[in-house]
Amino acid sequence: MSGYLTGLIVLLALNTIAAYGVYLPMAAGQLNLGIAGFMAIGAYASAYLTNMCGWPALAAIAAGGGTAAILAFVVAMPILRTQGIYLSLATFALGQVICAILLNLEVVGGAAGYPVSTHIEAFTVVAVTVVVVLLVCLMSTTRVPIYLAAVKNDPLVADLLGLNVKALGVAALTAGATIAGVGGALYAHYFNYVEAQYFGVMLSTYTVLYVLLGGTQSVWGPLVGAAIFTIVPEALRSSSQWRYAIFALFIILFMALRPQGLITRGLTRRRTQAAVQGGTTAS
């Protein structure tokens, strides 16, 4: 396969993984603006394990996800005391703090960044991504997504129906962070270099954009969103300097015309969304 295409597929895989990291918490109503922080944790932890402890890449990548998960689990309780926009901003602040700390952590290179000694091939990145996507798909056939929808929609009722709202929230945040951590670890091992500056707010923001563009109602939304985000700017490559402006305009118009995202439950079930929403407002 051509080098360009391979490279593009890797980018797509990385973007997709990050998108699923945002998608899971979002299904529970948490807009995580600090996902890049969890990616950074995964990246740095796995890099440290390969560099300093000589772990094999795959084990280190898994451990990267695990580290992000542990961190998420620890912070979840306090962070989930907040809701809605406050939660988003709390995750945003968390992401900033994580970055600022990593930037000053000299054991992992500080501001100079941290090289990673082991390289993984494009195939590995794609394979891990496929596994993650399949796992999320599998999860979508369990009770979890409807429970998350309940927690998102009406936490009080969810609680009165016996769901453990807090635990579901923690689980969603942690699962998202785990996926993001794995994504960060893949990034570190494919590019063999991590720097804290890369995992800034803008990365989190763009990842949220993928998900909303694709739509949050279906498991395929994040995949489609990530694909658009990877491919459209490439397609606009010929218009060179205009491409990011055009792309931003595209996002705005898209959101204005199709706020529910590209892939909707209605679409997957061959139902028109308008009817669903109409019914909702009629209540």
Binding site: S2, G3, Y4, T6, G7, L8, L11, L14, L103, N104, G110, A111, A112, G113, P115, H119, F191, N192, Y193, E195, Q197, Y198, R237, S240, Q241, R243, Y244
Partner: protein, 372 residues
């Protein structure tokens, strides 16, 4: 296009959009210029050079994509770029796996090329530059009783300059360091730092920062009435800096691998660059250090390819890429436009340093030195 039968492909990894656009957007012009000149003069080994370009927008991920494409799809023999240190770190690692030479025109973070055999940088080590600057200042008897150091903490180059390069260089010229102030890379408010400097009362302030932060520092010093001479290395290399200082920052001294008024050849380059830049409407007509560096990289490649006798035949591509690398490593004092270039073991260039002083809205040549 020039009547050659075969083509030698060179990749250009450029940051035409994105964060570095204002510094990097003219690199393409300089590279085009060099390629045209070489082809017009008969090419290399009877073959024309063909450029393939890839805009990375300064994004490390995209720079790897560029390397993959150049090496695997375009059959490039070498790559001009990538631009920044962030890109270089990941792109160099990819280039190493693919066995293709890359040479950055701008990356100056310490030791970025060192771990790699195929990685080069046509930039000079900050430590050398700053040492030259200080030696020049001492030689001209500037008042330098005590020094202070101001640097950006969240950028690898700036931080290294501030925490190691400047202190070591100041020790060498026996100037005591009164204290440090630091700020974020994109700082706009320097009031706290300058109030602290006001307390330290230094004669000179060594700066490890991008031009913007240095301008902000100079302006705030003026506002708070703190007078001290600023000096810095190549991190602030910008032909327009004296203008951008406005009435602050007069007398600032920097070291640079490029001085636009150096000699006829450079002036001719600047003129023809200006013509092309005007036509391309990029909003700038004066070349900067990364432009001339990009220009020189093409000539360095041409020379290395000539010496290695590359043919551009697809079957021999891997060997020829390695041959280009080996020739570059062997090269001694290649007479490039910016001065004589030799590559050190760590892949960075050794070349002349021009010590410049900001005077009345221009850079003036303060001194000229060569390391080693």
């Amino acid at each position: 296009a020039y009547g050659h039968e075969r083509e030698l492909v060179i990749g250009l990894s450029m940051a035409r959009t994105g964060t570095f656009v204002s510094v990097a957007n003219a690199n393409e012009i300089a590279v085009d210029m060099a390629v045209d000149e070489i082809n017009r003069a008969g090419g290399v080994n009877g073959s024309a050079i063909r450029l393939v370009k890839f805009d990375t927008a300064g994004d490390p991920k995209q720079s790897v994509l560029a390397v993959e494409q150049f090496a695997r799809d375009n059959g490039a023999l070498a790559i001009v770029g990538p631009f920044s240190s962030s890109e270089a770190r990941v792109a160099f690692s990819a280039g190493e796996r693919l066995g293709i030479v890359q040479m950055s025109m701008s990356s100056s973070a310490p030791g970025v090329a060192a771990p790699f055999k195929y990685a080069f940088r046509n930039t000079v080590d900050e430590g050398l530059v700053i040492e030259m600057v200080l030696k020049a200042m001492r030689a001209k008897n500037l008042s330098m009783g005590t020094a202070a150091i101001a640097y950006a903490t969240d950028d690898a180059v700036s931080k290294a300059v501030g925490t190691t390069v400047l202190p070591e260089a100041l020790i060498k010229v026996e100037v005591p360091v009164g204290g440090f102030v630091d700020f974020p890379y994109k700082a706009f408010d320097m009031s706290a730092q300058v109030s602290k400097l006001a307390q330290l009362k230094p004669d000179i302030v060594g700066v490890g920062a991008p031009p913007e932060a240095m301008i902000n520092l100079a302006k705030e010093m003026k506002r708070q009435g703190v007078s001290a001479r600023l000096f810095a290395g190549t991190t602030v290399g910008d032909p327009d800096l004296p203008v951008r200082f406005g009435d602050a920052g007069e007398g600032t001294i920097i070291g640079s691998p490029f001085y636009s008024d150096l000699n006829d050849a450079v002036r001719a380059f600047a003129r023809s660059f200006a013509t092309r830049a005007e036509a391309a409407k990029i909003g700038r007509t004066v070349p900067n250090q990364t432009d001339i560096s990009s220009y020189d990289i093409v000539y360095l490649y041409a020379e290395a390819m000539k010496r290695a006798g590359v043919t551009g035949e697809p079957s021999k591509i891997a060997a020829e890429r390695t041959a280009v690398r080996d020739e570059l490593r062997k090269m001694k004092d290649y007479p490039a436009l910016g001065g004589k270039i030799t590559f050190r073991e760590n892949g960075d260039a050794i070349k002349p340093i021009y010590v410049l002083e900001a005077k009345g809205g221009h850079w003036t040549l303060f001194d000229q030195r060569t390391a080693d």
